[in-house]
């Protein structure tokens, strides 16, 4: 193995020097990655809460929403970008639209399931205390659905972070920039590829952990229930 390496290229698999020299750029791309992910998730969450509220209000709306979100979910990322580029160009918008729509299926389903899981006694008690429908939803049902919603958010976040690497096709930067850069230079640069993939995985793990911690903070009762 070693000799083969030496015969092929003098570039070692990982060079700390490259990382040091590109530290600024790494920070920039990392920030871009975070902002794309956050924008997509934010839009996805707002849309999903809206769709979930409507689904809870009218039963027939739920299967319709799920089928539509399911169809959007099936669309391959590169295909979605290709469909949008001729109209919205190589832009942030083009990158964010598919990323946000991918989260809908997971988020809507988890919000609705979470709310439906709220025990009837709790709901009746709240109504007995004089809660209006809106108050019931936002002050009782949604907070109690939080663990399930966050579980969905974790899946959506991790998936989105992986997909953001593809947006480098649109010149969107993010950590996919390094993955592409790794094979575009005249001598392929393995360090760039490894940094791109590694940081993307690291970001996914960090965000997942952060969401898990926020679930524990925002829904402390689940921790007690589990012992």
């Amino acid at each position: 193995m070693r000799t083969l390496f030496a015969a092929q290229s003098d570039r070692p698999l990982f060079e700390w020097r490259w990382v040091e020299r590109n530290a600024d750029n790494i920070v920039t791309r990392f920030t871009e990655h975070v902002s794309l992910t956050a924008t997509a998730l934010g839009i996805g969450l707002v849309l999903s809460v809206g769709l979930a509220v409507l689904s809870l209000r009218w039963r027939w709306f739920y299967p319709v929403t799920l089928s539509a979100a399911g169809a959007l979910y099936v669309i391959p990322s590169l295909g979605a970008f290709a469909l949008l580029v001729p109209f919205t160009g190589l832009s942030f918008t083009t990158a964010v639209i598919p990323l946000a729509t991918y989260t809908l299926l997971i988020l809507v389903r988890n919000i609705v399931t979470g709310v439906q899981q709220v025990p009837t006694e709790v709901r009746e008690a709240a109504i007995g205390l004089g809660f209006t429908r809106v108050n019931l939803l936002f002050r009782v049902e949604l907070p109690l659905a939080l663990p399930v919603v966050i579980a969905g958010l974790r899946v959506a976040a991790v998936t989105t972070i992986g997909l953001v690497t593809v947006t480098s096709m649109l010149g969107m930067g993010g950590l996919g920039f390094f993955i592409r850069q790794g094979i575009q230079t005249t001598t392929p640069n393995p360090t760039a590829i490894i940094v791109g993939i590694g940081l993307s995985i690291l970001l996914a793990v960090l965000v997942d952990l952060l969401l898990w911690l926020s679930e524990r903070a925002l829904a402390p009762w689940t921790r007690k229930a589990r012992g």
């Binding site: 391959p76 590169l78 979605a80 899946v155 993307s200």
Partner: protein, 245 residues
């Protein structure tokens, strides 16, 4: 020339509807499908027997529950390029192996997790009954646990396959090939002049994905044991359900 004129011009080019010309949409569709199916089959052969065995003996539960999460965190785009790089460094043919290995790796987690969850969440009564009737452990796995957990296994295969169809397209970035993704990548390389090709490729990829999804639904309907079809309304346990995404 607006985008739709560009698209029409692109669709009308000679060889665009050929099965043998590499610029043909049918040619690329076949390439796309064969790559996706090949990697799905390899991944299934690698994981399903193993997951079935591990689940039967209730081993490696942690691996089963975390495999999908780990799989999600790995960017497929990066994986393809990494394998492409390694292949080029080791002087292996870069048009086939890097993409295939990356695709198989991506299909493993959902297949493994769903097979495992499908088996472990089964009602144990049929398993005990089979054991009492004198089935060997191997027979229990193949004749009881595998068919009964088939809906969940197929749900995993569906998730894996859709991811494969999406990822084959990305493979066009590193080499010739890449199925229908070829057009998207080539179109991007041409800038604004390639918008017709980008749009055409994008539509083709999306149609293919939707058709595959439909085909998989039909497959699921026909391959699920009849006994399970009747009880389909019975809720799957939440753990197994969570993995169908």
């Amino acid at each position: 020339m607006n985008v739709f004129d560009q698209l029409a011009a692109w669709l009308g080019e000679p060889g665009r509807w050929s099965f043998t010309d590499p610029s043909g949409i049918p040619y690329r569709t076949v390439e796309h499908l064969s790559f996706s199916l090949l990697s799905l089959v390899i991944a299934a052969l690698l994981t399903i027997p193993l997951a079935l065995w591990l689940a039967h003996y209730r081993r490696a539960a942690f691996l089963a529950s975390s495999a999908v999460n780990i799989g999600r965190a790995i960017p497929s785009f990066g994986l393809i390029i990494l394998f492409w790089f390694l292949a080029s460094r080791w002087e292996v043919d870069t048009t086939f192996w890097p993409l295939l290995i990356a695709l198989v790796a991506l299909a493993l987690p959902p297949l493994f997790t769903n097979t495992y969850a499908g088996v472990t969440s089964l009602d144990q009564a049929p398993v005990d009954a089979a054991r009492g009737t004198g089935y060997t452990e191997g027979q229990i796995m193949l004749r009881i646990e595998l068919p009964l957990s088939l809906p969940v296994v197929l749900a995993g295969a569906r998730v894996a396959f859709l991811q494969l169809v999406a990822t084959v397209a990305i493979g066009a970035i590193v080499n010739d090939g890449g199925g229908l993704g070829r057009y998207i990548v080539d179109g991007f390389a041409q800038g604004a002049g390639g918008y017709g090709e980008i749009l055409g490729g994008g539509i083709a990829v999306i149609v293919l994905a939707l058709v595959c999804e439909g085909a998989f639904s039909l497959l699921t309907r026909f391959t699920v044991p009849r006994g399970l079809r009747i009880t389909r309304k019975n809720e799957l346990p939440s753990r197994a359900k969570a993995t169908i995404s």
